[in-house]
């Protein structure tokens, strides 16, 4: 539960001139961030987790093991479930025989799929045993996989965002911006699904904060007006949809909950204050409200003995000076992200189509063809060379900027008005599915999302640098980086060589 904080009187949205790039970007942004669902989950977990997220660029508070391994495995699980379901829907894969033989054919499919994704056989077997098999067994037992037909309307990895998501507050509502990505939307079964590899066989309760996560995503979806949704989705009442969290071993149905509403108001207050509040001492309030201590560490959080209570080294001796010097930089780097990236999200969702085109934020295209992972687009009202500098971009081949399939793409070639993009991180069947649903007369906006991940990396690199050290002087003297830090930030006289 989020640490209580007085709800904000209002969210600070960018003014018109800021939205239209008429204000020179410098210093503290005159608007609050455009938060992600992950930001809110971190805020719910602990103010310090949110602080690490915003100030140190470390966002995965709820991953306790090796981040890269967990992420790769999680992605494989997600992708395979999507691949399997879409293969059944498209008729590329047929479930034959009894359940054991269906299970066996799905296992073969998984093993070849995981190898195509660069996984070694031993790791694929592990992932099958730990996550995929229990999930597939359950879904075969309850007939869910068998019930998929060519008419099933299932969508994966749909990005949703709204600058004005309303949350009840006393007798009225408070609007906040929010963005996130939904693992699966099943229009046929009328449910949205959040999937995770966390949660064991024995766990009777839900994986930590996944209920809050899916609730937030559902709130975004429910807040969107018909014109913000893909054309075919008009008239769907997402308020009536079921929210489901799937772990490999169990499914949990989540219900609307007043506690989530309170948590959300408090979370936004923390996000605002950590990011742009002028009130001195906000950061010390964050640490005063820390949800754990070394003698009482949080059992679900990945930060305790890594980021919150790191190893304390006596060398370099100038650590207080390093800390004081670095401290203002973190927030400045966050502000840079806000000016470059968060403002872009506000613009995308708050300006109309014409203004977005005029500002060069989007380029409208028609889909010409799709083959494997390559998509050919025709640029409307311009030549392909107007895309100079757009080597990497984001394409929405289905849906809108508020709710749609958002893919990273790389420009492969250009020909007059046409461009060919290589779509990344997506499997042929999935991309085919996404494209098949696309009506050729719907313009697909192509955009270039500012690379704010670089600032995040600088934040986390500074944070790591702040904590490096050596246990004794001899070791410290052997490490050139520590000597360099002493020479830059230390107050002792420098000596070189043996003298």
């Amino acid at each position: 539960m989020t640490v209580e904080r007085h709800p904000l009187p209002r969210w600070r949205y960018p003014r018109n001139e800021v939205l239209r790039n008429q204000v020179f970007a410098s210093g503290r942004p005159p608007f609050a961030p455009f938060p992600t669902v992950t930001n809110l989950i971190n805020a719910n977990l602990c103010p310090v987790a949110l602080y690490h997220d915003l100030i140190h660029g470390i966002e995965n508070a709820l991953v306790r093991d090796d981040l890269r391994t967990v992420k790769r495995r999680g992605e494989l699980f997600h992708n395979f479930v999507a691949y399997l379901k879409l293969s059944i829907k498209n008729g590329d894969f047929e479930l034959r025989g009894d359940i054991p033989s269906q299970l066996s054919s799905i296992q073969n499919m998984f093993l070849s799929f995981s190898q195509s994704q660069g996984f070694q056989i031993y790791e694929s077997n592990d992932i099958w045993r730990l996550y995929v098999r229990p999930w597939v067994e359950r879904k075969l037992d309850n007939g869910e996989l068998q019930s998929i037909t060519s008419d099933s309307q299932i969508f994966f990895e749909i990005s949703v965002a709204n600058p004005h998501v309303p949350f009840p507050l006393e007798n009225g509502v408070r609007n906040y911006p929010l963005r996130g990505r939904i693992d699966e939307i099943d229009l046929t079964q009328r449910r949205i699904i959040e999937r995770t590899i966390r949660g064991g066989q024995e766990d009777s309760s839900l994986t930590f904060l996944k209920d809050y996560q899916i609730w937030l995503l559902w709130k975004i979806l429910c807040s969107l007006r018909a014109e913000h949704l893909p054309n075919e989705w008009g008239g769907i009442r997402f308020e009536d949809f079921e929210m489901v969290v799937e772990t490999p071993h169990q499914d949990f149905v989540i219900f609307d909950n007043q506690d989530f509403v309170n948590d959300t108001h408090w979370a936004y207050a923390w996000i605002n204050d950590i990011s742009i509040s002028e009130v001195p001492g906000v950061f010390s309030e964050v640490f005063e409200n820390a949800q754990c201590a070394p003698e009482n560490p949080h059992t679900e959080c990945g930060h305790p003995f890594i980021n919150c209570f790191p190893r304390r080294y006596p060398f370099p001796r100038c650590r207080p000076e390093i800390r004081q010097t670095f401290q203002p930089w973190y927030r400045l780097l966050l502000w840079e992200q806000m000016w470059k990236g968060h403002l872009w999200h506000y613009q995308l969702l708050m300006l109309d189509r014409k203004e977005l085109l005029n500002l060069g934020i989007i380029v409208e295209t028609n889909v010409v063809s799709v083959q494997d992972n390559q998509i050919e687009l025709e640029i409307m009202g311009g030549e392909a060379n107007t895309l100079r500098g757009y080597e990497y971009c984001t394409v929405i081949p289905y849906g809108t900027v508020f709710c749609g399939l958002k893919l990273d793409a790389r420009l492969v070639s250009t020909r007059k008005n046409n461009i060919v993009l290589q779509l990344s991180g997506i499997l042929p069947t999935i991309s085919q599915e996404a494209i098949l649903l696309l009506s050729p007369d719907i313009p697909a906006p192509v955009m270039k999302e500012p690379p704010i991940f670089l600032e995040k990396q600088i934040q986390s690199a500074l944070f790591r640098l702040k904590h490096i050290g050596a246990q004794n002087e001899e070791r410290a003297q052997r490490r050139s980086l520590l000597q360099l830090l002493e020479s830059i930030f230390g107050t002792r006289a420098l000596r070189r060589g043996r003298r």
Partner: protein
Amino acid sequence: MNLENMGEEELNEKIKTLLQIIIDDLKNLKDPNKAGWRKLSDLKKLGISEEDLTKLQNLGIIEKKLPNEFRIIYKNNEIRQKIPMFSIHFQQIDYFIENLEMLRQDSKRMQKAKDIVRKIVLNTKENKKFLSYAIAIGIWKMLNVSDMPAVVDNILSAGFSPRDWGIVSLCSAPYLSLELVEKVTEVDKLEVAFNYMKTIGFISKVPNLSSLDINDISRVKEVLRWHEICKILDEENIKFLGLSWFVVFILEENDALPSYIDFSAKVVNIVKNGIMEILSAEYSDLANNLIDSMRVLEEQNISWAAGIIFLPEVL
């Protein structure tokens, strides 16, 4: 023998209690060799019986020393593997042992900070001169750590090259600080304030305060629109800023600022409480008043003021 095989949930609870005793002792910075030992009579009060201890002894999990004191054998890896469900407890124990020295240092610094702040509060109450000098030194410190940001066009039109501006503006800090402090109290020379602090043992040496030509000072003031800044900041702002910076400066000079953020957060509170006591005002009111003044400066298009007038960051 494995505890899980024995199915002794209750015994697990006793192990947890014994581990927590070690953690609590270490948290209180007790020497690792002395941490965790408890007499049977004390353990009984925590619900651990002689029979429990015998069971744990048979499992090789606890050690005993005379006279009749027990603790978990926490250093042994085999034992750690025998009770894997307590890995987080062992992680906590390792954390405190590995960081003991640094925790002790920061704890000492925090105590030192507490003592220094107490002394400052007492001095301000007993001696009016002290408060004046403290505010003057604090404002000087604030200007001294500032990068003296200003509009480049104004710097150039005042006849400074960017390089000269960096040097001259910083050298003007003593003069600018005295002018600002004038609104609150009379301090003729900053050297006098520093010497006074040295005499009463708050600092060990007087910093080098470079002198500057009167013409240079007035050009710096013009570029910064210093006169307007002085006009807009009220008495409370100046006292608040000056004292905040003075306290942090003195803590820095006396090596009383902790190395790590958890202790720093505690020092921030000590500083806040000290300032509230001296100024007899709520910290939030002082802060909000300062924010209001900064907004006025921004409205007057003195956008660089936030880079000159700011509170110290201890975290």
